[in-house]
């Protein structure tokens, strides 16, 4: 059997749902060796980092430079608050480490640009976490690539997450203070709905938009050039209080004459029996394709079932493993990961353009 290198990974902060470093640890080609973060982080950050380090029996080092210097790392798994994603990733890249970073890429396009430049300058690999290897998404790509529907002309992704996000809209009593975004996100850690953790409030477009736009990017091979969006706070008081969307519709004009759309929302647990209604619609010159992203799944119902437990369980989901396989392949062969820094940056640009369009009510050119 040929000898293959096991890549040593440092966990650069792990403050929200920790699927990313867990996926790294679960793949046989990777090994977690240290958790690290900056010493000046607040106590709750250190607590979460320490807890993760303890679970995996690895040290927690409150000094990123020291961890890089002392642990012979090949790569960093970056998963802090969204506003720190790029900074930690750039520092890792500047140390010559390959990087896997959680979504969203950043809360600022300038930070994304800084990361793209650092990845290129240091000639390292970067993977932005995504769902492009879900079985139904892979099936979509295979159907398109087979030519079954001819030339791709239009693509639509409906992406409604049915998780709750704190008190419903309209629930704040007169005189009560507005909900603090970070407090709410920290509270949401308990049920894993803290995808927007950070000091800066983010709407659903910013938090989850990377996933459907990642599908569109992969399936069309095109960048979005212009958007027109409507955004609203329709469901959750935290989004109202922090003036960020929880429902959005975006028209997309892509390269190659492809048109598309994205509908996205955090629609609440009452609105769907599972994690949400997530579908991909593709129109080609020779036909159309309708894909439910959750499939394959198994339905499970039983007496005294908790009301918020999903009744349909996704199965054969190897997204995490395949992402890590993809990254290992990139490190072995020099190929580009399935969603690299430039693609992630361009998707972030689409998101920011959509947010701007939602505010101005006008179409916005995407800075790609």
């Amino acid at each position: 059997m040929a000898e293959t290198k096991t890549f040593r990974a440092g966990v650069f902060s792990v403050v929200k749902h920790c699927y990313l470093p867990r996926a790294v640890a679960a793949h046989p080609r990777f090994e977690l060796v240290v958790v690290t973060d900056d010493a000046d982080q607040p106590d709750w950050v250190h607590e979460r980092n320490q807890k993760f380090a303890d679970e995996f029996g690895i040290p927690y080092v409150r000094d990123v430079a020291k961890a890089i210097a002392e642990y012979d790392l090949d790569m960093a798994a970056v998963s802090p608050e969204a506003e720190r994603h790029c900074d930690l990733a750039v520092r890792a890249a500047d140390a010559g480490l390959h990087v896997i970073a959680d979504k969203p890429m950043s809360t600022r396009l300038s930070e994304c640009d800084r990361l793209v430049e650092a990845v290129q300058r240091n000639d390292v690999k970067f993977l932005l976490w995504n769902r492009n290897y879900l079985p139904a998404v892979v099936q979509t790509k295979e159907a398109i690539d087979s030519g079954a529907i001819g030339e791709l002309q239009a693509i639509h992704v409906d992406f409604y997450f049915s998780k709750n996000a704190g008190p419903p809209k309209g629930s704040r009593a007169e005189g009560d203070p507005p909900i603090n975004w970070l407090d709410r996100q920290m509270e949401a850690h308990a049920d894993g709905s803290d995808g927007g953790v950070g000091k800066e409030a983010m709407g659903e477009l910013e938090i989850e938009g990377i996933y459907p736009l990642g599908y569109i990017h992969m399936l069309t091979g095109q960048n979005v050039q212009r958007v027109f969006a409507r955004t609203a706070t329709h469901f959750h008081q935290a989004n109202v209080d922090n003036d960020v969307d929880d429902l959005a519709t975006v028209s997309l004009e892509l390269g190659g004459g492809v048109v598309g759309s994205l509908c996205i929302g955090r629609i609440g647990a009452a609105s769907h029996p599972d994690i949400g209604e997530i579908k991909i619609h593709v129109i080609g010159s020779e036909g159309g394709l309708v894909i439910t992203e959750a499939r394959p799944e198994v339905s499970i119902y039983y007496r005294d079932q908790p009301p918020l437990e999903f009744k349909n369980e996704r199965i054969a989901n190897e997204n995490d493993f395949l992402l890590m396989d993809d990254f290992a392949r990139a490190l072995d062969t020099g190929s580009e990961p399935i969603l690299n820094a430039k693609a992630g940056r361009d998707i972030a640009a689409t998101v920011f353009a959509a947010v701007e369009s939602g505010k101005t009510g006008q179409p916005v050119e995407v800075d790609c």
Partner: protein, 304 residues
Amino acid sequence: MIRLALISSAETAQAYGALSTRLHRAAWTAFAPLDSGGSGQALGQVTEATSAEELFTNQADVFDAVVIAADQATAGRLAKAASSLGKPVLAGAAGSNLTALGQADSLLMPAHPWRFLPSIQSVKRSIDSGKLGQAGLLRIHRWLPPGADVESQAERILPDADLACWLFGSAPESVWSLQSAANPGYIQFHLGFANDGMAMIDIAASLPSGGDYFSLTMIGGTGAAYADDHHNMNLLYSGGQPNAIRTSQGRADLAGQLQEFVDAISEQREPSVTPTDTATAVAVVEQILESADNRQVIGGKEGN
């Protein structure tokens, strides 16, 4: 008992004839063909006129109300003639030519059969009952084979523009549309309603000949409704990959629409679909096409 006359093709008469036993407080009593040699036999024992004009001139005493199933121009002309006789009219295809008749004293109900599909009725009831909370997002995908039933893009768009206005209870405040350079049968429109309501609708008349596809999602503040062909497909195995076969909603749309027409006459009330509704939908269609042509947002925050 309300006596109904039908002016239609023989094929449509077959469809309406099949509904005869479902109809309450009404019966077919007269038929006039639109096509030569058309017969109203499917309606049972009815007075058959040779043409709509002959029906209005010589047989006006054998019916109380008229159902006209014709193209826009013909329906408008015949509806006007029937209205001048004081006869209530159910007329389709709905279009701008009907809206001018809205001021007539007699009842005029434009045909909007898409509203009466069981799936759409179910969604509407869930909104009206308050189960879904405030309407937030209407998402429609409608894909058709080329040339299916309608002649123009405006006609193709009208049902979904109407559904959006009906489900949100008003006309949109802003309109944005996109077309595809590669696919002239494609249009996407993006409507903004009061209270941050939004509709995103894509229509493609470019499927290969055969079945169509329709999916409607309404997401409200406290719930959501999904009327989706994808959910309602069964499987047929006949070698190779299985084929999806859609479960049918029958012609409940026609039956529901006709009964509403009859009930409105019986109860001497306005029908649930009025010429004003058609006029609103027609105006929205015009805005959709205007936005697609000039790539500008119509209405909305422009100039703010």
